[in-house]
Amino acid sequence: MRFIRLPGGMYGFIIRRLLLLIPIFFAVSILVFMLLQMTGDPARQVLMAQGILEPNPEQLEAVRHQYGYHRPIYIQYIRWLTGYPSADPNQGEDPRVMTRGLLSGDLGYSHKFQRPVKDLMLERVPNTLVLMGAAFMVSLAMGLLLGVIAALRRKTWADYTGMGVALFGVSIPNFWQGMMAILIFAIMLGWLPAEGYYGLKWLILPALTLGTAQAGSLARMTRSSMLDVLRQDYIRTARAKGLRERAVVYTHALKNAIIPVVTLLFLRLPYLFGGTVIIEIVFKWPGMGTLLVKGGMGAAGGMGKDWFIIQGGVLMFLVLAVLANLLCDIAYAYLNPKIRYGEGG
């Protein structure tokens, strides 16, 4: 494969931007590490996850030493991140429960599920990515289609209906839309399954529900962007030189109108992550959102909290957000040379 040719300044920009990931990663890791510390007493949380709701002082003290929570906080952080210094049996630290460090993939052991958090996540992350990917496609297709049609047929019934649907779409609570989808298509009509994920058929309802949440705002954005472009001089020029309307619309207008839409799409990815969590709960999707809310936070029918799971879930969504932001910046720099050479980095 040939080396991809990028516009001038792009390599420098990407390298600067990748280097910036290092401090961001440290910030994210400190935030996630602090989650357990902010509960007040990590040892109590570990015991609660084991089902011991009212531990006595001896139990707390024992766990505190086993897990090394008696150490200064910076040592705990370094150990949580790297696994060093390793467990010291002289201080009562237990090498069997001691973390081997985030960098070697150890996120702790879930007493609720009797499994390492890493294994739980590895099973569920692909499911979440499948759901988000499908929803992303749905929102892109629906949003662009609705927006372009509304812009081209401006001030006709198609425009008003399309924009009405879009406004309705951004006004519906997505979880309620999911409940109604289950009610209509699974319970009343019996066409599609509503719970779990055992095949493509199970993907349809959650992906459509999650996708339409983004499609509304995307359609509104596409429409106004398209209208902006259609007003430009180069469109008039294209029409004046006798191009067919279809060529004007698709090659000249749409290509330019899509730039801000794509930017918006990437910028709104954090909303997609939040939306996934909710939709996974509605459709009992075996993904990270369900693991985080039900398994970790003990809500939506899950019993009791497990902070190692919460840490793992929050970490995953924060990392996804950082990556989405990186992609967004790179795409934006690619489209806008001013940023490449400027101060931004």
Partner: protein
């Protein structure tokens, strides 16, 4: 002093073309009507609602709509209509309080960044960018997992990331105004920074600020109800719409189907959110002449 300022502003607003445009906009009328009805329902909830929203009537559980219970009852026989009526209070409280908290963090920071420029601007905007890139709902859920559920905690949880939009808007507004001649003139006659900000910069940013507030209102309601739905917001039996849907979701189908219980609170959310979205769209179009035609 402040009263005079507000009166002057309103007087100016009434004469502006934006207001005339706004007044003729059908969306503005519909949105305003919806919001007005909801506000009155919230204020006079105890007169509108026929029952106590939390009091159970176990002998009347899971009933359909009837003369006795306008929208039926839930699993404990609580009157759904009364619960939805009282739910308006939660929805409006979340909206207004969250906007107040977000704006009171974001607006001063944005002003500071835009007005001071340089290093301060750089630092504030770095934080703003990082905050905007974070998945707000997940941060909010983690906050509630830490500090427990409840209306006020939900508001704080959502404000952690929500202020950033206000900061960015205010910075942009401040930068746009900063270069104007009248600011230079004010500086030349020796006005203090505080006076310049409160007399020249802030008044010029009020219109876009109002638009942003109107637009974050529905988002606040949707997010807060989603958190309650997950069981990490306002908890049942409090009559919050999301919390009602949390309880009702187990009664969609067999063994005890009561789908109407799930339908009414959802419609309540949609109507209120739609009302604010109408208002927000109309305001934005009115204040932004480019969008008008």
């Amino acid at each position: 002093m402040l009263g005079n300022k507000i009166r002057d502003y309103l007087r100016g607003l009434r004469r502006s073309p934006a207001f005339r445009y706004f007044k003729r906009d059908i969306r503005a009328k519909v949105g305003f009507a919806i919001v007005l009805v909801v506000v009155f329902t919230a204020i006079f909830a105890s007169f509108v609602a026929p029952y106590d929203p939390i009091e159970p009537h176990y002998e009347d559980r899971l009933q359909g709509p009837s003369g006795k219970y306008l929208m039926g009852t839930d699993w404990a026989g609580r009157c759904l209509f009364s619960r939805i009526v009282y739910g308006t209070r939660y929805a409006l409280a979340v909206g207004f309080l969250l906007i107040a908290v977000q704006a009171s963090i974001g607006v001063p920071l944005g002003l500071l960044a835009g007005y001071k420029g340089g290093r301060v601007d750089n630092l504030v905007m770095r934080i703003v960018d990082a905050t905007l890139a974070m998945p707000g709902l997940i941060i909010a859920l983690a906050f509630v997992a830490l500090f427990g559920p409840g209306l006020y905690k939900v508001i704080i949880a959502l404000a952690i990331t929500g202020w950033a939009g206000y900061a960015r808007l205010m910075r942009g507004q401040t930068l746009a105004v900063k270069g104007e001649t009248y600011i230079e003139a004010a500086k030349a006659i020796g006005e203090k920074d505080r006076t310049i900000i409160s007399r020249y910069v802030l008044p010029n940013s009020i219109s876009p600020l109002i638009v942003l507030m109107t637009m974050t209102f529905p988002a606040a309601i949707l997010l807060a109800s989603a958190m309650s739905f997950l069981g990490l917001g306002v908890m049942p039996p409090e009559p919050e719409w999301g919390a009602m849907l949390n309880e009702s979701s187990r009664y969609l189908g067999d063994p005890m189907p009561a789908p109407l219980w799930s339908i009414f609170p959802g419609i309540a959310i949609i109507v209120l959110v739609l009302g604010f979205n109408f208002l927000g769209d109309a305001l934005r179009d009115a204040f932004d002449p480019r969008l008008r035609e």
